[in-house]
Symmetry: C2
DNA sequence: CAAGCGGATGCACACGTGTGCAAGAAACGC
DNA sequence: GCGTTTCTTGCACACGTGTGCATCCGCTTG
């Protein structure tokens, strides 16, 4: 009663060979409908389900996808994770999740995932060592970098069009007539941060402008408060932040100082997390399409699993400017 | 180069038997230090790691924990998930995550997890069918209900002390001199909701009071707005909400109507999600200790995995009242 | 030096499954 | 009726690992 039931027991109970049971649960195999029905009935009665791990041993396909994600409590990441879950489930894939607290332990982390014979890896974490990428290539396991482009050896990548999105923010501020524009960047060394920076600076430069001040808020609310203080000291009439959490920090700090938004100060964020839509913030922001990103990541990975010969590819998801009251 | 290296290849390269390799990677096995060193060197050079799935087949321990969670984008759930990840990693356990969009598919969901031979299951989702619980008992797989108590067959449970927490909220409002108190409940049929309701009503009853109005906000911000409108129509001087998202909805609706908080209206939430601390809300709330809950869930599960004879147990985590400006 | 002993090592089996191959059965065309 | 094709079924091997058992080696002890 407390033992897991195996295919052999089903076979014995149904009076057939174990192969017949195996074929019943393997789509596309040759079994007569009469025996298949009998076997399925017996299997249901005994509560049999094939052991996915034993199956992996012989098929060399685990149907498990390793997912590495940092800062799950970041609202956008949580959203991304939920969409990822849906996209993988739709494809019948299981998700082995590992948070990445320390970036320096990605090596141990990726080897741990590989020991579970994952069919592919989706990395939505910050820093991903190139030795870890090499380890995946070594065992022919496709990798998709999600929201973190990286020109690493043979890894596919899915991300928002951060450059175009940030450029839209710059153009919007310029169109509003703002001239004393400040800029709050995210975590240095992360690709999204430098891409958004480039796009934003390009957008400003096109209007003959440059930021009057720059500070880093490390993509967090708390660090964003300090950076906001620093930027507001330069009396800007607009601030673009590389994510919404930092933009919310700017709004709160500005409010505390009596700076009126958007009259005295326009603020634009990035991500469009649920909190950005709250009436207390009504944040104008560059929206990322989490569902499209997750779907693309799953699709790219599945394709490379099916056809390992395929080269790694890159996929950009468009951003849209969501206008609310902060700009 | 693109093939996974096996213990047999390491053995051949090191000039030993495959058993020696296996023992090298099995703590507590008898191998001389000299051969262990040689094998470890060869293994490192070849990039060998034991196949965790093949190992599971013989040890009957996968070191995988199945986690079922609904509404990952709910900030408190995201926090819980992150703590859960840390707690499992600390114990060397892997996490197989499945979101539960529809409650009616928990059966298929749990069978899917079981087919991966998970050593245990943590359920942080809403409704968990008793037939699913029965399936776990059938294969001797321990289950821990997290944040969702359930008197199901042999499932352990970890949750906040919702009754005591909600009672504290009631007592606080009474101590503030509020008398026209309204109540916004969460999702009907979920244990946390009824527990908080009972604790809150008990706390009011002790002061000879009862809610002047009740509405359900289904634990969501959007539904909370509608419920807030309904409650405010009764002109209450305080509202207790069963989670923070709904309390934020109340604050926003009240603000839009010109109701002053906390002068005209005191608001208390539940969870203490990060957004509750934002200056725009400064929400007084009953804090749940996500880290303690996750640790307890992992500990309880690990204990039952080690000692299957142990009976299922229950564990309550204390809540604390966090006083901010909304009450 | 002989007997004894403990630790290291290899052999072989087991875990639960998918699948190629050959054999058998059934259906079909002439 | 017989040869031929198509479909079904069982046998046996393979996947990569842990571990009991027997063997062997080297060292200690009397």
């Amino acid at each position: 009663m407390s033992a897991r039931v195996t295919a052999a027991e089903v076979a014995r109970a149904a009076g057939v060979s174990r192969s017949a049971v195996s074929r019943t649960f393997t789509p596309g195999s040759s079994v007569s409908t009469s025996t298949r029905n009998r076997i399925e009935a017996v299997a249901a009665r005994l509560g049999y389900r094939p052991n996915a791990l034993a199956r992996t041993l012989i098929t060399r396909r685990s149907r498990i996808i390793g997912v590495v994600m940092a800062a799950i409590d970041n609202p956008f990441h949580a959203q991304l994770l939920q969409c990822l879950d849906a996209a993988l489930q739709a494809r019948g894939l299981a998700m082995l999740l590992r948070g990445a607290a320390r970036p320096e332990m990605t090596d141990e982390l990726i080897h741990h995932l590989l020991s579970y014979q994952v069919d592919g890896v989706i990395v939505a974490s910050g820093l991903f060592s190139s030795s870890a990428a090499k380890a995946c290539v070594g065992v022919a396991t496709p990798v998709v970098m999600l929201d973190r482009l990286m020109r690493a050896a043979g890894a596919s990548a899915v991300g928002s069009d951060n450059r175009a999105g940030a450029r839209m923010a710059a153009e919007h501020l310029v169109a509003l007539g703002r001239r004393r524009i400040a800029f709050m960047s995210g975590t240095p060394g992360i690709s999204t941060s430098s891409e958004r920076a480039h796009g934003f600076l390009d957008g400003l430069a096109e209007a003959g402008l440059a930021p009057i001040a720059i500070a880093s808020g490390r993509y967090e609310y708390a660090a964003g408060q300090g950076a906001a203080e620093a930027l507001l000291a330069h009396a800007p009439d607009a601030i673009f932040c590389e994510n919404d959490l930092m933009a919310m920090a700017v709004l709160d700090v500005a409010r505390a100082r009596g700076v009126r938004v958007p009259d005295d100060l326009a603020v634009i964020g990035f991500d469009d997390i649920p909190a950005a839509a709250l009436p207390a913030y009504a944040l104008t922001t560059v929206a990322q399409d989490a569902r499209a990103m997750a779907d693309a990541a799953a699709a790219l990975l599945e394709e490379r699993i099916e056809k390992p010969a395929r080269r790694a590819s890159r996929r950009l998801i468009a951003c849209t400017l969501v206008r609310r009251r902060s700009a």
